[in-house]
């Protein structure tokens, strides 16, 4: 650093667009996240199943290869809505584990170190902060859910032909819509837990617990009240119900209607948002 620069100077250069500033947060989050080798290994593990699915799709279209093993093509699993439903369900479980791993570090370090006044004393709102923190997780979860899902759809479309792609375009829509819904709910749950529980391990455990406790409590409600409405408390089951509708599965064994499930997920998201905005403030006024 030149000595002449060691004096205070104002800044008169250009400024970035206001709307794009929330994207700064995920960039810095990633640079910190990818310092963890465990996270990188886990992220790699999340791609095993999509790679397996891609191989399966390729093999199912390669008749000469199937004949080598005396397998008849009609005995092979069909590549249809159900196939992609299974794919999405498996990847949703990975997304859930990844959220429990990454989620606790989203908001709690800023709260522990009292960094929020520094964010909010700048032209940066609470909504942008939440959006920015959420964007990091959404990128990461998209990377293992709907993005590889679309790649699988593209592989299948290229092998099965244009007419298959046209007839089954709703599958691509279901992959994107279903995954984004799940990602949104997971991100909000993770951020709310991260904002309220400063100890990272406890926050991670609670993110995992939200699903299990919800499932347990829902089952108890179902048993005691002799109803199926308790299943609405189980976010995983809500998600399955919505996906079953999106993937047009008629034989799925589901206890709740997709609309009820969507309502339950919307309420859960709103509660998480409320919890989040209660905590994400420049200063907390203690009563």
């Amino acid at each position: 650093m030149a000595v002449y620069k060691r004096t205070y100077k104002g800044y008169s250069g250009p400024c970035t667009a206001t709307w794009s500033r929330f994207l700064i947060l995920p960039r810095y989050s990633f640079s910190r996240l990818f310092q963890s080798k465990f996270l990188i290994l886990f992220l790699m593990a999340c791609f095993f199943f999509p790679v397996g699915c891609a191989l399966f799709i390729y093999v199912s279209h390669n008749l000469s290869f199937l004949r080598t093993f005396n397998i008849r093509a009609e005995n092979f699993i069909a590549i249809n809505g159900k196939f992609f439903y299974v794919y999405c369900t498996v990847q949703a479980a990975f997304a859930y584990l990844l959220t429990a791993l990454v989620g606790p570090g989203l908001v709690s370090p800023d709260l522990v170190n009292n960094a929020l006044p520094l964010y909010f004393s700048r032209p940066f709102s609470r909504a942008e902060y939440v959006l920015g923190k959420m964007a990091g997780l959404v990128y990461l979860l998209s990377l293992i859910t709907w993005l590889p899902g679309l790649v699988l759809f593209a592989i299948q479309a290229s092998l099965a032909g244009w007419s298959w792609a046209r007839q089954n375009f709703w599958i691509a829509e279901a992959i994107v819509l279903g995954s984004l819904l799940w990602i949104t709910v997971l991100s909000l749950v993770a951020m709310a837990m991260s904002a309220w529980i400063k100890w990272r391990i406890a926050a991670g455990a609670l993110i995992l617990g939200v699903i299990f406790v919800g499932a347990g409590f829902g089952a108890a409600v179902n048993a005691v009240m002799r109803t199926n409405l308790g299943s609405m408390l189980d976010l995983a089951q809500d998600n399955s119900a919505i996906w079953a509708r999106l993937f047009r599965l008629t034989d799925a064994d589901l206890r709740i209607d997709a609309v009820d499930a969507a309502n339950a997920m919307a309420i859960a998201s709103l509660i998480c948002l409320w919890l989040l905005f209660k905590k994400v403030r420049a200063f907390e006024v203690i009563k």
């Binding site: 970035t16 810095y28 009292n114 004393s121 940066f124």
Partner: protein, 307 residues
């Protein structure tokens, strides 16, 4: 006499209430100095005023303007123009100083390259140049204060708000902080609002003061004008019969407050100190102590507190 400079901060009946508790009450006034000191005892509402000006708390009554921007409607614009150094420890532990300051610069609107360049510059400027790649969590308290100062100036604000900047600093670190604040003031590129309960910090850096007490403004003064126009004082301690001595001094134009062998004199212009010795000698009065001084910020503050 008020300054002819356009006001930096204008308060127009500003009030802040947390639940049933009224923290700030009917604050009125305007300040336009290059460096404004915000003084008051603990709990007077200094930090609340700063945080309200930044839009952290909504006013319950009245309004305020910074550079003419209303704090409710122009919050975003005000935050673009200001830099804020909070009172408490505020940082992100697992970040290096340079990436932390860069991120803060980017959040203020600087493009990434400019933010990186400015981050290096301000860290060198505050004296953390050699430690800029260390994690903030490993910094000492003094270094964290300097890092907080660096993040508040990285985007070149027009108004720098410093909330107790010398808190927890040892004397050399305090001196360094005061020197930096004065240097920034002297560049003429920014206004400063310094909030402190340490009179020395304000006296050494500010040219205008706003004194708060129990959520009200009790005094607003231009220190430069006060210093120019202020009166000379003499504190006397006498021994012996001082009957007629205060009257004799009053006859020479002094304002005299006397009690049990102690006197405080306010001297008129052109008063010769030897007159005091002459009058004492005429009465065979011993002068045990004589302190001659000008009106200090402490006097202004104490008067404001007594009001």
């Amino acid at each position: 006499m008020r300054s002819t400079m356009p006001p930096v901060i204008e308060l127009d009946g500003l009030g802040v209430r947390f639940g049933d508790r009224e923290i700030l009450r009917d604050l009125r006034g305007s300040v336009s100095g290059r460096a404004i000191g915000l003084l008051g005892p603990n709990g007077a509402g200094k930090s609340t005023l700063i945080q309200t000006l930044l839009g952290f708390f909504p006013p319950s009554a009245g309004s305020a303007r910074i550079y003419g921007h209303e704090i409710r409607s122009g919050r975003r614009h005000i935050r673009t123009l200001t830099g804020y150094m909070p009172e408490n420890e505020s940082f992100i532990a697992n970040m290096t100083a340079v990436s932390f300051i860069r991120m803060m610069g980017e959040l203020s609107g600087l493009p990434p390259d400019a933010a990186l360049e400015r981050a290096h510059e301000v860290l060198f400027y505050v004296g953390l140049g050699e430690a800029r790649y260390r994690l903030l969590g490993a910094y000492s308290l003094g270094m964290k204060q300097l890092a907080k100062l660096a993040q508040s100036i990285v985007h070149g604000p027009r108004l720098l708000i410093l909330d107790e900047p010398t808190n927890g600093l040892d004397p050399p670190a305090r001196q360094r902080m005061i020197r930096l604040i004065r240097e920034m003031k002297e560049t003429g590129e920014m206004h400063l609002l310094l909030c402190s309960h340490l009179l020395r910090d304000v006296e050494e850096t500010c040219d205008e003061v706003l004194i708060l007490k129990q959520g009200r403004i009790v005094h607003c003064a231009n220190l430069d004008e006060e210093r120019r126009a202020n009166k000379r004082f003499v504190e006397l301690e006498t021994f012996g019969n001082d009957a007629g001595f205060p009257e004799a001094l009053a006859a020479l134009g002094c304002e005299c407050l006397a009690a049990a062998g102690r006197m405080k004199l306010t001297l008129p212009d052109g008063f010769e100190m030897r007159e005091i010795y002459r009058l004492a000698a005429e009465r065979d009065l011993q002068l045990r102590r004589l302190n001659y001084r000008r009106d200090s910020l402490e006097d202004i503050f104490l008067k404001a507190m007594e009001a």
